[in-house]
Amino acid sequence: MINPQELTQAALAAIAQAHTEDELAAIEVDYLGRKNGRVSNLLSGIGKLPSAERAVLGQAANEAKRAIEAALAGRRRELTDARLADLAETEAIDITFPGPALGRGRIHVLTQVQRQIESVLESLGYKVELGPEVETEWYNFEALNIPPGHPARESWDSFYFTPDLLLRAHTSPVQIRAMQRIKEPPIYIITPGRCYRRDPPEATRLPYFSQVEGLAVDKALTVGDMKGTLLYMIQSLYGEDRRVRVRPSYFPFTEPSFEFDVSCGICAGAGCKSCRYKGWLEVGGCGMVHPQVLRNGGIDPEKWNGYAWGFGIERMAMLKHDVEDIRLFYESDLRFLEQF
């Protein structure tokens, strides 16, 4: 008969000398294993003993088991601590080495800027409207109060397919189509999309470009509302310190008409090289919708009025990301596109 105390002593000694977790696991099986463990074996002949001895031996065996378990846990902790204490040396790596390149795919910077503009205006309740790029004379010009021979047509020199079919010079035709479809205000829409004008390509303009126009038709809208909307948009995109100024201008489809400028982000309006010492950067055009244009869209100008604005997405992206040549957006050089 093996004495439980001796068994415990022997186990504790072995545990104290174990140097790896594997050794500990072997000791655990050796002493506490369910089938042939030495502590279990102690109890194997217990059935033949008188009940008093049986109880004493049972208790002693349980004590031995608990002591061995505690010792195992304690030694295991010591070994783990010792292992972890060395990590700084044993597993040190050169953290200055760069990570592997991620996939190189990028979303086009104009898509990104367009989406930012949409988000800002959607937060004011405007909805995106789309329309065809090949338009009819009526939608592109006449509905917008620009009849044939109108001197302002010079600003929208267009590409024609037939005398009646052309590439839209602005996304304003979408405004007319939206008014005709929605019929009854309130109308708060934005019209992003590609446009075309017959200007030879150069650093500041291209025969193809993209616009976002906005249109609000409601009761009792004012120039102040238009200014506030533009200011909200510009501050949301470029920061709260930016200012917006509207200057009288002329478009046949708005009355009054304006150009709108944004204060220069570099000099804050004082004048610098980047704003050609004007303090302001020209961004787009805007105005109160001409009553005839509302009528052409099927809206009664006696009941409703509206404001509209438009600007180039490229221009906004150039301002935001310091791009100096508009042609880069459409040249598709990955070295450029991957910067954004």
């Binding site: 996939g103 795919g105 990028r106 979303i107 086009h108 898509t111 367009q114 949409e118 909805k127 995106v128 789309l130 065809p132 790029e133 090949v134 021979g149 001197p151 010079e154 600003s155 590409f159 024609y160 397919f161 037939t162 009646d164 079919l165 590439l167 929605i182 009854e184 309130p186 017959r198 030879p200 291209l206 025969p207 609000a216 409601d218 009792a220 809208l221 004012t222 120039v223 102040g224 509302d225 200014k227 506030g228 100024r245 509207v246 200057r247 009288p248 201008s249 002329y250 009355e255 009054p256 150009e259 109160m288 009553p291 957006f329 459409y330 598709s332 050089d333 990955l334 070295r335 596109l337």
Partner: protein, 795 residues
Amino acid sequence: MKISYEWLGDFVDLNGVTPKEAADVLTRLGVEVESLTAVDLSEIIVGRVIEQVKHPKSRTPLWIHQVDLGDRTEQIIAGAPNAVPGSLVPVALPGTTVPNGKLVKDLNIAGFSAKGMLCSAEELMLGEDHSGILILDAGKPGDPLTTVIPNQAVMDAEVTSNRPDCMGHMGVARELAAGLDRPMKVDFMPAFTGKADPPGRDLIDVSIDDPDLCSRYIGGAITGVKAGPSPKWIQRRLRACGVRPINNIVDITNYVLLEYAQPLHAFDLAKLSGGQVHVRRARAGEKLLCLDGIERELTPDMLVIADADKPVAIAGVIGGEETAVTEATTEVLLESATFNGPSVRQTARAFGLRTEASARFEKGLPAELALAGARRAAALIAELAGGAVHREWADVYPQPQEPVRIRLKPWLVDEVLGVHVPLDDSEAILVRLGFHVRVLGDGEWDVLPPVFRLDVTIPEDLVEEVGRVYGYDRVPPTLPGRRHDKWTPAVPSQGRRLDAARQVLTGAGFTETWNPALVSGRLLEQLRVGARALRVSNALSDDMDTLRTSLLPSLVNVVALNRDRGRTEVKVYEIAAAFLAHVGDKTTQQPEEPLRLGVVADAGTTAESGRKAFYAMKSVLDGCVRELGAPPGTYQRAAAEMFHPGRCAAVFLDARQLGYLGELHPSVLTGANVEGRLVAMEIDLEPVLDAAGVKRAQTLPRFPAIERDLAVVVEEHVAAGALLATIKEAGSDILDSALPFDEYRGAQVPEGHKSVAFALTFRSPERTLTDAEVDEVMAEIKLALQKKHSAGFRT
């Protein structure tokens, strides 16, 4: 347009207003001043040449002048000989920087000291002339030059197309006067000065044959003129505005054009055959030698001024050489007319000739301006060229300009602007701009715009007039908002929905591009995708003459461009419309504009790398379709333009064909100078968006799955897709999924055969399957494959 600050001062008191301030006021009013060039002459003084001798030693010709500077005499050397004794000249003393930037120094030239510089017009930035010293026509030695020539400032301004009246200094000055709240010094309509006999009408007979193209023609007769150089101040102002002085008569017509915006023309009356002026359309075959020395052929849609025999001017564009005013001219016909804007523009365009006159007529000038301009010019010619203006001019004006009256509810100003403008202020502003305002009994206003403002026709126009002078800076920004009882619910925009596909592509390493929709029509023809292409009738160049019918040619060019620039792996895509013209009798309708996704990627150089790239592209498409929320597409072998005949699939969503996916045809790559292979796809996005639904959650499996691999040996032509269909059909409801994962040829596989490996997963939602059950279904699957595809099996 160039605007001289000095000239504006003729019309409005600019005391205390700097050129910069004036420019800012004009910009705020809507005459945008793009740039301001100021010339400060206050450091230059007037000198009188006492003596001029040639430099005795200098090899380049130089002249030594003794110059009276009032309190002293200085010796000054110059390279031009025109400062003869007695001349008054501008002098810059040592230490002065002249306006063109040159610093004047104390010099010694070959033994002679030079104490300053005699200035040319160019050095003083008063014109282009640098051939000689600027000779002054007045001035006292020692006085600042500004006693003779005021400080100069020239603005370059952009005048909007609705304001032709501002294409002259008087109109701009009126804006400035309104902005500064100062009175105009000069009335719009000058007095008529003609007194000489006989009446002008007897000297010239004017008729308008085509009144649709000319609403008014005034012909003034002036006799006894003496042609010669015009006075310095006229020359200076013309030069400042970029107009070259010619002689006093021509200069005065140009001067009045720049002042009133009314183009004028002076004919040598003696050279007009029959003393007649006919304003008529040109006749076929007629020609005219123009003032610029070019002979132009006229067509019957062009309006000309003709005498009894022949055209003498192209109306509103340019005059003829033969009847031009010369030094010998003594009698002048002064033309001041109102020509039809579109007609003048068309004619000027046809000749590629844009003159100061045509630029103004194009905008549509008020007929009243013709009279004002003619009177002003006649008075100047009488004063400066000594002519006698005859009484009773020819003035053919069949339909006088109707005054427009506008009913204004004056509170509209506040309603539109969103700020309170006192009624008195509104009225004062309109009056300052030349409007007549009459307040009616009901509080509404009866407003009469000035005759030179044809652009003002509706109440909103008046609001704009008030607003721009009142100042839009004073309108506080607000956001609109009121209770709405009607709305449309928010739905994600198409662009935002497509961002799901963009994310898949980005994750797969593809970069989005935006390529021009206008491409070379010839390229589309070569690729045989030009059949439904729309061709631009007025293209800028032949590489941008046609709307693309496919996104792929642009994307292939993007690959070529980036390879040229040293990029090896190029994976790009674009989301944009393609344009497909209708065929048959609908060709004049708007084309179809399907929104497409085009993708192109490198596919290595071997048949095997191409094969792998093909399947990779399928994964990209499947991923996009999945993320857009649509059910998976199916693929069928197909042939399509631009694609490799053995490696092209048509993609279907249910029964709708979305487009094609495959390797690009080698000839497409050769044409674009791209080496190796490219894999591509182009699909319509709208059907995918239409098929999109909400993803529904599936119950997670509660019982374990049993997985089996199956290697099926079949003849080469049997498609994995066909085997898969058979497996799925035979697999009973416990076949959870089946996926081909490998294709093998070689040992154990007979010639002309291939082995396709499938991973099969069996699972029941109700119980744990037994191996025996799965064996049974596997046997059925094998049997079906054997029967249908003569398949064998590899273990």
